[in-house]
Subunit: 428 residues, 4 copies
């Protein structure tokens, strides 16, 4: 058995709902206030895996708003998401965590997010990408030294950024047919091929005064460049460009993403294979999502929402092999707070063509569904490092709506990738 | 390529809704009135398999009611299940099919079914099991000769029988712990072990004047003994006893079952793995089913319903590894006709214990969901014979609620069994 | 303005969920911890009515279990029904209320309820009805004296009793046609007519050693005989017999009932008039109710459940004028606690006969829906006394599933009865 | 008893789904192919009213597309809305109806509708409002003469027009507070007050070369000016301006509107009073509507959709007395055809503030729900004429989403207006 040492979880968007719930939950498990329920790494089939103990992990991060873990926890309690019984005994721990949270980035985060930012940001508004990366790295390195960490895992949990226009879709699904469809402008396409596929070329974008790289990608570069790991739990760009993933490998670091699969999309990746295997023709799939947390407020903004809807929508086509009419709405309904309610209406036909219907309503608490995935991803990334795995962790596909580098979208098959990786690499 | 020749589909319960829809659908495909949609054997991934053409199949069967295919088709049209446009051009074909339907069996079918029986049954009421088997075999052999068939596949589609009390559950899940639980009476248990596990011993039950074997098992024995295949699409006993499955192998025949997985249970076998893989604790799973076809009328009777509910309920425990509180109701609501509506309410908790909810409503046309599975099963059984496969066809698990000899209940994994069998045995 | 004085609320089943919520809520309003939201008597249209202040009311009652208000409140907090923030500042008040709770009755309450009873009941098990009534009256009179009350309003909130077999249905719907149908035995019918219609005759039943009167009716008689008011919030017999209602009038007291209309049945009384006024033919109405509180445990018992189902079912026929196929199930699902979830499926047809569907899911917290009605009924009963109204308060129909003496079942029309009574009698 | 004579139903948008279903249904009733089910005027409570016989009515109309009744009926059959059994025996009647359909108007109907228009419209594109009105009147008068009609009732069933920008909302809800809110521009407001309130002033708009009056209002003016009645079954402007309603009275004609209340909004007007009377605080009400008929295609267009959403949304505020957060979406999902599916999620809180949820799913066939209302409105308008009623028929409020001149939005109370009018005016 190798020597254990501390592992840092570096939360981007640390005082947001998901990050706060992850921090509260981790500490509750460490202090045995609540058992480690709802975590994939804790299922009995995986009991022989040499996981890190939950006690190995410590928490720091970046944030752009004023606030504190306890303030956000209080909001979540008011929304019936967290229970006061769990939070109260952790208040002093949360205050300690607060002291490790540093000011984050706002590059291309969109107007809604900018408005939420703390005034302290006047100091950083004119930072160039290079300067920003250096600052982020200083913050992370200080934390690593102070806590004497063997590994730092950066998890992006900030609000969804506006879609990084012309290349996002291309990079997610880069097959020649799709390229042709999504690129009206051949010049753009050519530029993408050159710049985003290769790290040496892409790095130069950082010096471009009009550098289009959003905060999520700057975080990824800062982390990987310092040899830290990067997990993108949002649909923002992050480590999506092939060049960034290549860079991870070069730096002996790990990356994963995009967009944690928690509710309606998880259901899609579970149900669509049923229709496919039974040869039932999905004529239309409508999904209406309503919720009222901060994430919802940001998604009220059309440009941020576009990124999210794209991430929720493409997998049906990938599973079914054809394109049914789809509709995805995400609407901010204040009274729901963190409780995301999704209604899906699936209209299908089969033998002799008669139309039939499946409807479902999902009523889940967003932060509580997302936070355990964050902890699972961190624990799996720690295992990957011990196994000397580097680069994009495609075996984590079952955790993501848009898994980088993976075409398979059936949840059970993605889960088999994970089982298979755990098995092959099992320490004996 | 081997020489093609005709294959008989012998429908038990021929003028019921599912059998009629299968007959109408097969003929519609043969006459190119409707494309072969909604059939698993027609998915593009399986396009390289050397399937029989749909034109290879002909139809006969047994029935205990007076009636005709066109009469039942008319009922299904009135219930918006079949469309008149499809049925009308097939009326003369259906009349021809009618002439191949012979009187069936009523042994231990329960009072509701007995009441439905045609008066012609006065001739057969005192038949011993041996006599009944001989009669069934004569009917089938005549059909085989007349149509010059290379293979006959018997598919049990009759109404659910009352539960064959003390051994059904034992045989389905025979592990030592479960045995202990379900058998209060050790004498019964010992008898089961001896009689139902071995064909030579079991055969003697046929001579018992109080022979407890229900019609479904007599059909199975009659078919297998004559070298024909037997597929049990219902939860009735059929070929469940290990002795019967052993007998199939001995006779170079094939069997499969139990209980076609069409709606709510299909959903369970698709959704439960999601909860399991995500370590979400299912606290309760309630399923209410309402429908108004003849099957529903039979299930109004408590003893017949028990067989069905047992078949719908056990798989959750098998997938989840623990026993949530479950409730399954099946109620006859006349106005719904063949449209089965299921409402399921799944109450689960995960990280930090907050309860969440998934509800779904399934509105499907029972006959239209079941009939294509019948045709798929027949086509797969024909392929199995060409590949010299004998005995229980466990690779068909994805088609059944209670697959014989298979513990795996996750639909996608069961489907992988099928893929794997098709692949390994692929003719090139 | 008349002189104000205290009014007692005497809760039967005081430590049950509804009574505890009513007690907590009343005290929270009195201490201004929560505003008087969700109360019908507080709607702005009624702001000119001379209501009693909430401060006028004090609480006592009967109970058959061991327990306390705070114990039950703790259970409701664990079920996410009550919030700890509201309960904690009231704990000493609840302890004071506890001291006013006396042992209740168990006559014909059914086995499930008997099992729940405290051991203290060994002292009372052989009480005759007359003795029981005297004891109840002593308890209430002591409370009235101690608190110097101007009025005592007894509210029956105990678990549903088994159906008081042969007369319940008759008394609820006594029209000659219905009589004919429900009474096979003419002798029984004649006896009912004689005994239950007239107080002098009915009173003699109390001396019958096999007296069939259940606890709810003994409570009613005890209260009314002492000049106190009686409100039956359950479907138990209570003051249903015409003789008891006549007795109320004679004693210058008031009575009301039966069965608070809180969730699924409220919806029925709101939706059914829509189908009726639009001449849409309701073919079937299926309602499945699941919940997991103590009431649910009692209703697990078939004989107690029958009383409830009858109360939930009859109103459709009364509103529609014909009898669609109906199905009502009530099932105990532990994980749901006090959260009653109802799924209703309404199948209807209209112009040219095409079937259409309305489904609804109601997710409400039973105690929180019922408790404000209790407070409203008490406040309205107090007003009725000041207006010298005596006998059955039929203007309260909108609060009940089976309003005594009222045929109208449309909720909005029932509400108009209340508006009209408030208006006519308005104090100026 | 007065002398009976024929009454014309003049359908605007005659070959649309609702109009075709009304025509088919009327003829099916006249030929006794189907009983008059699903009609409000046929409920047993109204059996003593001296209704016109359905045989009294004949059909003509205007349309802007090429087509025929049988073509549209065929579409509705393909969508499982109409049944072929009903349509087939009426085909020759429908052909006869076709010969009475004349080219309609396109003024301010929006681009989507213009694209649907037949090429024949090149002849009419430069018509001034005055010319258009004359043409419409000639068409109607010819029909009246030919069929020797005693009355002509014009029913607007054409697709929803874009919102007639600055005055629509003002006219619907003209109270001083609302005026202040909706009119930023005081000049516009002043102009409205002057021009649209008084017929003499408004008439002059017809001569304005930039006349903003949409087709629906020109139809209304044409009809009323000729002494015919006008019923606006859509949310378009129609007879909304007070000046037009005043004009109806002056001409001894009748008008009614707006927007037939068939599905989700009917539900709102039935459910909202429940929340209001129970003092349950509606925090949010979300309604998602999906359907795939021609109406849906038109509403795909944002400007047409705005008119519809406004009509569906305002009534909650009117019933509840406050403004919950609301969201109404209407989306075109082709596969659904005429089957409108609405999912509503109502989030409310009551006693002690705990949030609760009501969800419903309405699956109705749009044309079949709307068509009987058209026939009921026509029959009631015929009765109104016999009773010498003139002007706006406010007693028809229960049929409309936005009843002209009526503040009451509770369906049951609106229905009581109808009952009361029928009663008061009953012929004896």
């Amino acid at each position: 058995m190798e020597q254990k040492s501390n592992i840092g979880i570096w939360l981007i968007g640390a005082w947001g709902g998901v990050a706060t719930t992850a921090a509260v939950g981790l500490r509750a498990i460490q202090k045995k206030i609540f058992p480690p329920a709802g975590l994939t790494t804790e299922i009995s089939d995986f009991s022989s895996v040499a996981w890190n103990s939950w006690n190995d992990f410590v928490i720091g991060g970046h944030e752009i708003r004023r606030g504190s873990f306890s303030e956000t926890a209080e909001e979540l309690i008011a929304q019936n998401a967290l229970s006061r019984e769990i939070v109260t005994p952790l208040l002093s721990d949360l205050r300690e965590y607060d002291s490790e949270i540093c000011p984050g980035l706002l590059h291309h985060s969109g107007k809604v997010v900018e408005k939420m930012a703390s005034e302290d940001f006047c100091f950083f508004l004119n930072e160039s990408p290079r300067q920003a990366i250096s600052r982020l790295q200083r913050d992370m390195q200080l934390f690593v030294q102070k806590k004497q960490l063997a590994q730092l895992i950066v998890v992006n949990l900030m609000s969804t950024e506006p879609q990084c226009a012309y290349f996002q879709d291309f990079l997610l699904h880069s097959t020649s047919q799709r390229e042709a469809k999504s690129f009206g402008n051949t010049a753009d396409f050519a530029r993408c091929q050159q710049e985003w596929q290769n790290w040496e070329k892409m790095e130069k974008i950082l010096d471009d005064p009009k550098c289009p790289l959003p905060a999520s990608t700057l975080y990824a570069i800062a982390a990987l460049d310092a040899g830290y790991d990067f997990v993108n739990f949002t649909p923002s760009l992050g480590a999506t460009p092939p060049a960034v993933r290549e860079f991870a490998k070069k730096k002996n670091a790990r990356c994963a993403g995009n967009d944690g699969k928690t509710g309606e999309t998880l259901m899609k990746s579970v149900l669509a294979p049923m229709f496919s295997h039974r040869n039932l023709n999905v004529m239309s799939w409508v999904g209406h999502n309503i919720f009222g947390n901060r994430d919802g407020q940001v998604l009220e903004n059309q440009e941020n929402k576009a990124t999210k809807v794209a991430s929720k929508n493409h997998l049906l086509e990938q599973i079914l092999g054809y394109t049914p009419q789809t509709l995805v709405t995400i609407e901010y309904i204040k009274s729901l707070g963190d409780w995301k309610t999704a209604w899906d209406h699936i209209h299908f036909s089969g033998f002799l063509g008669t139309p039939m219907t499946l409807q479902f309503t999902w009523q889940g608490c967003d932060s509580l569904l997302a936070a355990p995935l964050v902890l699972d991803l961190v624990r799996l990334t720690a295992l990957a490092k011990r196994r000397n795995y580097t680069g994009n962790m495609d075996f984590l596909a079952c955790f993501f709506k848009s898994p980088l580098g993976v075409e398979e979208q059936s949840f059970v098959r993605q889960f088999e990738f994970l089982e298979s990786w755990l098995d092959l690499a099992k320490e004996r």
